[in-house]
Amino acid sequence: MSRVQKSFAWMRQHWVILIGIILAIGVMTFPIPQITDPQTRTITLDARQFEFAPHRIHINKGDRVIIQFTASDVVHGFYLDGYGIQERVEPGITKQIEFVAEHTGKFRYRCSVSCGSLHPFMIGELVVGPNEPFWRAIAFVIVSVITLIAYQFFSKGTSYEHATLGTSPA
């Protein structure tokens, strides 16, 4: 067999893997268009001993965020990692925090006023999406798994034949 023929034969046998690799590369490099246009998002964020409600906020990159920040027992604070935004609010008052979500990723917001014993655990999470690397990684894993299963499935006959050939000289 010539070289070309050989590789053709290989491809015949292993085409599932080939498709899998192409798909996986596609998943990792395909440019995702901005899913939604930047919006203005108004979020009510209430701080109490010792939690934020909500404790997770999802927004998209480019969104203009308006947080209506309140405290419902004692004075609390808001410090947003990565953005360096800090605010302080007295109970009964609504403080407006405004910014544009320029950085994607997960950022923690925490209380910046020592408000009691569990104060250090008063933490929330701002997710600025679409969180591409994360979803790409998931898609990559799924494609790989499906490829492997499909490969097993399609190449079963062949490997079985090989196995029979190898084990039945008698």
Binding site: D73, V74, V75, E90, P91, G92, V113, S114, C115
Partner: protein
Amino acid sequence: MKRELLAIGIVILILIGLPVGVFIYNRQHTNPDSPERLITIQAAVPEAGGFQPSAIKVTAGETVTLRFTSVDVTHGIAIGPGLGIDLGHVDPGHVQEVSLTFEKAGTYTFYCNTWCSPDHWRMRGTVDVIDPANPDAAPSPYHDPIIEQLVEEGVNIDANTTMDMPDHPQPDVLRFDQPASIEQGHILAASLVIPTELADTEWRLTHTPIEGLALLENNNPSISMSDLINVIAYMWTSDTPPEDIQWAEEYYNKNCAACHGQTGEGNGPAADQTAQSPVAFADFTYMFGMRSDVLYAKIRRGGMGTDMPNFGTLLTPEETLRLVGYLWQLAFKDRPN
């Protein structure tokens, strides 16, 4: 052998050196030779004891340094009345210091102005300033002309309304179904006949907007009721200059909003813990039957077991009047609805 000796030497050095070092450090920091006294006051939430100590004595003319520390949460430190001292917050592990000389004998109050716990508003301590010439003198009773006048007139400042006073016009509540406009009132005021009493700040201090309205109506029979209400709203809010209103707003937001609410709806987050419901200053109809001097007296004296704190030991009469001015703003200022 030599090493053993060295080790023992080091141990002895530590044993002696440490106490000596601490002693010298303390001495340098308290500096007993200096005429200036340092008083350290520890702040904790009222549930855990509040300020320790909660009462200090100084002599008039003496310069003292007050050092505030916090053992639990972030507190705020202010001293009043009339000293204009606000040290900002003191976080656990940090200190705030102030050096001051009390010129006059009397009682001053240091208080927390950061809402640090449900009982925060009870967090206060006193400074007794003693007259060196007459150290045993009881503090002279405080005279407040506005409150004395109220007592003389027999006004009960704990009544929910001053409208049951004799001769007080009874309002037609239906007339107050739409919010007033201070701006409209301002424009209109120039073209109306304003009776002399009504034009007098002192008169307005001791009368309700309803009484003013009745006077205004008699003098301007052809003007619609809603226009008259606008003029009254303007007049009751025109006495406090903008910079005083700004001061009062800040003070209110820090010290009153937790109970009375930022916009005066009476529904702050602490409102469900008070013995009585905090008054809603935004309730325009209610405020039409209120008097400035009664509001003033209530702020200074506080409620009787209602959980309305007294602010008379924290604020000067002028500052209290600024707050009253702000309460009228809350009642009448244009709000989107």
